[in-house]
Symmetry: C2
Subunit: 325 residues, 2 copies
Amino acid sequence: MTRTQQLQQEINTLISSQKFNGNPPALYAPIAYIMEQGGKRLRPLLTLMACDLFEGNIPDALYPALAVEMFHNFTLVHDDIMDKAPLRRGKETVYKKWNADIAILSGDTMFAMAYQYTLKTKTQLVPSILQVFSKAAIEVCEGQQLDMDFEKQEEVSIAEYLNMIRLKTAVLLGASLEIGAVVAQASPGQVKAIYDFGIALGMAFQLKDDLLDVYGTQADFGKVSGGDIASNKKTYLLLKALQLADDQTRKSLKSLYRSDNQTETTQKIKQVKAIFAQLNVQNEVEKVMQTYYQQAVEILAHLEADEVKKKELADYASFLYSRDY
Amino acid sequence: MTRTQQLQQEINTLISSQKFNGNPPALYAPIAYIMEQGGKRLRPLLTLMACDLFEGNIPDALYPALAVEMFHNFTLVHDDIMDKAPLRRGKETVYKKWNADIAILSGDTMFAMAYQYTLKTKTQLVPSILQVFSKAAIEVCEGQQLDMDFEKQEEVSIAEYLNMIRLKTAVLLGASLEIGAVVAQASPGQVKAIYDFGIALGMAFQLKDDLLDVYGTQADFGKVSGGDIASNKKTYLLLKALQLADDQTRKSLKSLYRSDNQTETTQKIKQVKAIFAQLNVQNEVEKVMQTYYQQAVEILAHLEADEVKKKELADYASFLYSRDY
């Protein structure tokens, strides 16, 4: 078993040992439902890996890692209401299975539980962990708001889009790693570097997600294929396509994405994908994704830490980069 | 100016000095809107008063007090979505003025901001403050869930109702005071006593709220009069009425509260109030409210602290008890 697999197992064991069910059942059943689904659990793993990288004490990082995972799942529960997403990890979303009110309130409880988990570590670490955690939490909300704003906004630049995914996705990967480094009492330079590594990795990760939403299969990815197209999300794929398209194609594309467009969803996804293929935007996204991934690899290469452990993190980053789910 | 008024002014000054507006505007405008509305701001005042009572340093308690107020307002923003409440403090609720998605996300941001405020005090106080704060936050969610469950539940006992309002309302008043005591580094006995005082006061406070919802005027109270009746809330008034009523009256009352009842809302409120009057339930609620208030007064009387400051808190409790808004 690799060190990464060991750490992954520590996370899974901790999560399995938690009693998410409680009273009132209507509040806690959705929490148990989503937390026991699994998912990649990559954020808590990053916390442990960063702690390990800087020679920290893994048990001190376990609950902060769980806090990050709980927070991430809370954002999914609330985002799925706003995005009206029916599926998540191949299962019904909380708001679909129960209702929006329950999804709101169970999500709120998860947020408070996440904070409670951050307290289960060495007392002197708590204020610094919370600083990182709260800042990230606010930025994730800002990112989600921008994502919603963009759905209604006529023009979105690629720079605006990249800023949005930085806030919505990359920041939490950065914070997950930063919290691990804080637990290990790494130097300020190391803390900054591992955060920056997380941001670059997070950007690549989200661009991969955008690709998988269109080109992944539902069985692997666990969400509805083409969901971003169906809900008129302005992803990098779309923005690049609008940039590369001739006037005629741009007009067709814009009309397909108009909120009053009447094209049946499967048809709409098919037509949009045809335009994407014609403009070869998949290749364009892969290029920018590669740039971010390379950035992450370089930050890691320059980081002062044990080479074996750096290799573990580099391998995990490479795995995330090449995943197809 | 009394000491209480001075402390109230410190809160108001702190809140006025905050910049709640930020980017993206769609996320922060609702936060500024609700935070700048005013309201009683009784929870942060309780934090400062408890800190003062135990000879703490008021500046250390200011941001934790703001955290409590921000958290309370966050719960209002989310509760108003679930309760479909059109008015709050005489103004449109956030979900009505914007929409549910924005109310969800602005609320989430407020929750994260509340946690961020708790960090703006002496570092060594942070873990204890957060312990109190997170426990209360989870209990408030449990209370809100029970409140929603009760709307659909055929039979609710008075004991169940009292437990619900303890969680939904009293716990946060207790926690507000406890946080002030923690900042002042009061003894464990003092911390427990001031929390218990807050619970008793909070119970009286919520029963008063139930009364005002039915018998207050909208201009004073800032909510729709009879809103609890309109939304089939099982309040103490209703539960007591069901207990005291003869079979015939109980049947009428139950039928008025049935979710498929077609009576026009103003009519329904009028008919329910007539039954309440006939059974004199207002008097019954006042009796139990008086019991809790008396409990609070006695806990305070036995508390080891400066008599002048105890008097300030007792006077404020009396003011809350006799308020009519």
